[in-house]
């Protein structure tokens, strides 16, 4: 389980550097002692791994059902109620398939790449505040760490493309590298707008700061600073689409051009890692956008005290965050089954000619707005 080591290490390190951070697990085990810290890291990893594996199952099902409805067919409806267990059945099938490594592949890198891609994704889950205390690691540098972990996958994808020793894979990896490096610029600037507005890098504190206000949505960043934060949210969403390789930015995979792009040569369990990563990252980036721009776990029209305090309230808060994120994921699914794919030069044009300047304007505007 190569993939298990980096997230565990990341969670452990993040907790170590956590300082005054609070989380459910640290409360449970006591923050001071070394063993308590270790135990909370282990439990935290287990929870994160479970959530990060369960949500993709739900989202693959949702994607297939939703696309089925959009295309006037039924979608999976045989395995379990409403076909809900279809993704599990597919996962089991993938696990038992032959694991093929091409003869001329760079074996070590080939094996490492899917694990690396998945690892960054799972580790990033630890940083998402599902409620005030249901957060595995509340790192003071949360946003920064999250951006760093998100960019880890480009390494894995380039590694996979190179190690496969396949020209289509290499082209896919090249596209991925170009696309990711470019889109991190508008993404980073938009994240900076959130940081600037709330004067914190902690996603938990951002969510807390968005409670209450006019109709209890007034403090959400997109309503608090509608002139600049709303366009920034749109820019961030587009950049995140590109970061998760979702249509219309699915150039690294582009099945009609590059066969299957960077994962052409992968099969069985290793392929399922890439697959899992795609769906996990869909949720992850949506949750990130929700925490920063759409009020996190806060419910519209209900005061912030409803979702903080008791355990029941925190479960409600976690559900709210999941529902909001799912709304964004739904838009991703909707876009994927509607739009054609953009060409690589148009992807670059969009990033450097439109998104980056807009993001900069929003950043400067937010500075003015906050100082006003």
């Amino acid at each position: 389980m190569i993939s298990a080591l980096p997230p565990a290490a990341a969670i452990f390190l993040a907790q170590g550097t956590g300082g005054e951070s609070r989380s459910l697990f640290r409360d449970l085990f006591g923050a001071g002692s070394g063993w308590g810290s270790f135990a909370s890291a282990v439990l935290g990893f287990a929870v994160v791994f479970a959530v990060a594996s369960a949500l993709p199952v739900l989202f693959t099902w949702a994607e297939r059902r939703v696309s089925g409805r959009m295309q006037q067919r039924r979608g999976p409806n045989r395995v379990g109620p409403f076909g809900l267990v279809q993704a599990v059945a597919d996962g089991v099938k993938l696990m038992f398939k032959e694991d093929i490594i091409p003869a001329n592949a760079e074996r070590f890198l080939f094996a490492l790449a899917p694990g690396l891609v998945l690892a960054g994704m799972i580790a990033a889950f630890a940083l998402i505040p599902f409620s005030e205390r249901a957060i595995v690691v509340d790192a003071p540098l949360g946003v920064y760490l999250l951006a760093a972990l998100l960019s880890l996958q480009v390494l894995g994808v380039v590694m996979a493309g190179w190690a496969s020793n396949n020209k289509w894979s290499l082209l896919g990896a090249m596209r991925e590298a170009a696309q990711m490096v470019s889109y991190e610029i508008p993404m980073g600037i938009c994240l900076l707008i959130g940081v600037l507005s709330f004067s914190t890098l902690s996603l938990r504190e951002m969510s807390l700061a968005q409670a209450d206000g006019w109709l209890n949505v007034g403090n959400w960043l997109i309503f608090r600073n509608p002139l600049f934060a709303f366009p920034a949210f749109v820019v961030l969403y587009v950049a995140l689409l590109a970061n998760t390789k979702r249509a219309p930015f699915d150039l690294p995979e582009a099945e009609s051009e590059l066969v299957s792009g960077f994962h052409t040569e992968y099969s069985g369990i290793r392929f399922s890692f890439f697959f899992l990563e795609e769906y996990a990252s869909m949720f992850l980036v949506s949750a990130l956008a929700v925490c920063m721009f759409l009020g996190g776990w806060n419910i519209p029209f209900l005061p912030g005290s409803v979702v903080t305090g008791s355990v029941g309230a925190e479960i409600l808060a976690a559900l709210v965050l999941i529902v909001k994120s799912f709304a964004l994921v739904f838009v991703m699914i909707w876009l994927r089954w509607t739009l054609p794919r953009i060409r690589i030069d148009q992807v670059m044009n969009l990033c450097y000619k439109y998104l980056t300047p807009i993001a900069f304007v929003c950043l400067i505007g937010t500075c003015w707005w906050e100082l006003r």
Binding site: Q71, L171, R175, D250, V259, L339, P340
Partner: protein, 391 residues
């Protein structure tokens, strides 16, 4: 590299790149999702930019022309289904017209009307596949299933008239295998009405989509002169702005008795002859086809009575020595049959001019300089069927 290796100007430092670069040679196909069959294009690419492209064909060559010399005229009809398997009716038609011209058979008018309806229905079906797979090539999956939804109805219409859904073998030299069943014409008219409404869905979903337009405008431009020089026919030629349609310029069947337009590329979104123009010519032709079908049904019901759909001919057709060429407008262009007979019950020689094969020949000329993603868009816009390229 040459600039870097030349003598540096005074005051500048010499930079020597110790990197050997070479273009990458990629095999696109014969197993690739977007070559529409077993086409193999060997692409030389400098990063994403294509520097040269060579198509290799012949992976499903089935010796159709040789088979024609070994079986009787009627027996060859099922083989015609299989060259352009997306427009089997049109293939049947082209072959039958050639044999009928050579044998001087008189086809009953009812058979001719039904042939026209079938040919136009099949043109719609074929263009729907072109539309759907073009969406797939550009990464839009949903239009494909929308196209197949209407094509399904079209195929069930064929199933009702001849029992088959893909390879029909419905037309024979002299006429048709059977008359249309009761109620068939009404359903054809209903199909036309529904189809015209659904066509607007395609228009909104794909044709006017901003990303789709950006992907296809000014891409793979074929100027009119070049299109003529390469012998392009069908939507590929008309997309370049040349108004040439055999149904109009050399009418066969009763095409001179119905009114219809021949859509040509206007350069509406970019340059005349780009991928969008070729694509839109097909879309516009589908509406013309429903227009033709409506007139055919009306005239057929007004002028003919059910029953007679086969010419009087001997059981085994023997054609005295002669040579004929008949070209018909297939969905992909001019399908020509050049038939040489020698008085026996089999053809002496049958040469088939497949439009896809000629249209494909332009690929090495227009691919260089475009990107790999464009190559997919261009091959898709030429709309080849490999069964017909190889025959």
């Amino acid at each position: 590299m040459t600039d870097l290796e030349s003598t540096p100007k005074e005051g500048t430092r010499e930079i020597v790149l110790d990197v050997r670069t070479q273009d990458m040679e990629i095999n696109m196909g014969p197993q690739h999702p977007s070559t529409h069959g077993v086409l193999r294009v060997v692409i030389t690419a400098d990063g994403e930019i294509i520097t040269s492209a060579r198509p290799y064909v012949g992976y499903i060559h089935r010796c159709a022309e040789k088979i024609a010399e070994c079986v009787t005229y009627d027996q060859f009809v099922p083989y015609t289904d299989r060259y352009d398997y997306l427009a089997a009716m049109n293939n049947n038609l082209g072959y039958c017209l050639a044999v009928e011209k050579a044998a001087e058979l008189e086809v009953p008018p009812r058979a001719t009307w039904i042939r026209m309806i079938c040919a136009e229905l099949n043109r719609i079906g074929s263009h729907l596949i072109a539309f759907g797979t073009y969406g797939l090539d550009l990464g839009a999956f949903t239009p494909f299933l929308y196209g197949f939804r209407e094509r399904e109805w079209m195929m069930s219409l064929f199933e009702k008239i001849c029992g088959a859904r893909l390879t029909y073998s419905f037309m024979f030299p002299g006429g048709l295998a059977n008359d249309a069943p009761e109620g068939w014409f009404d359903e054809v008219l209903r199909f036309c009405d529904v189809f015209d409404r659904k066509w607007r869905e395609y228009d909104a979903l794909l044709t006017r989509n901003k990303i789709f337009i950006e992907r296809t405008r000014d891409v793979g431009v074929i100027p009119a002169e070049m299109a003529k020089a390469y012998g392009l026919t069908g939507p590929c030629l008309r997309g370049s702005g040349v108004r040439f349609d055999l149904r109009e310029s050399a009418p066969y069947l009763f095409y001179d008795r119905v009114s219809f337009d021949v859509p040509v590329g206007q350069g509406e979104m970019g340059t005349v002859g780009d991928c969008w123009d070729r694509y839109f010519v097909r879309m516009a032709e589908m509406l013309q086809s429903t227009r033709i079908i409506r007139q055919c049904v009306e005239l057929c019901l007004a002028e003919t009575t059910p029953g007679e759909v086969m010419a009087k001919k001997p059981k085994t057709l023997k054609i005295p020595p002669t040579e004929v060429y008949v070209g018909v407008e297939n969905p992909r262009g001019e399908l020509g049959h050049y038939l040489v007979t020698d008085g026996k019950d089999k053809a002496f020689r049958l040469k088939i001019r497949g439009p896809s094969f000629c249209n494909l020949s332009i690929i090495p000329a227009i691919l260089p300089g475009t990107m790999i993603a464009d190559a997919v868009a261009i091959i898709g816009s030429i709309d080849i069927v490999l069964g017909e390229v190889d025959r």
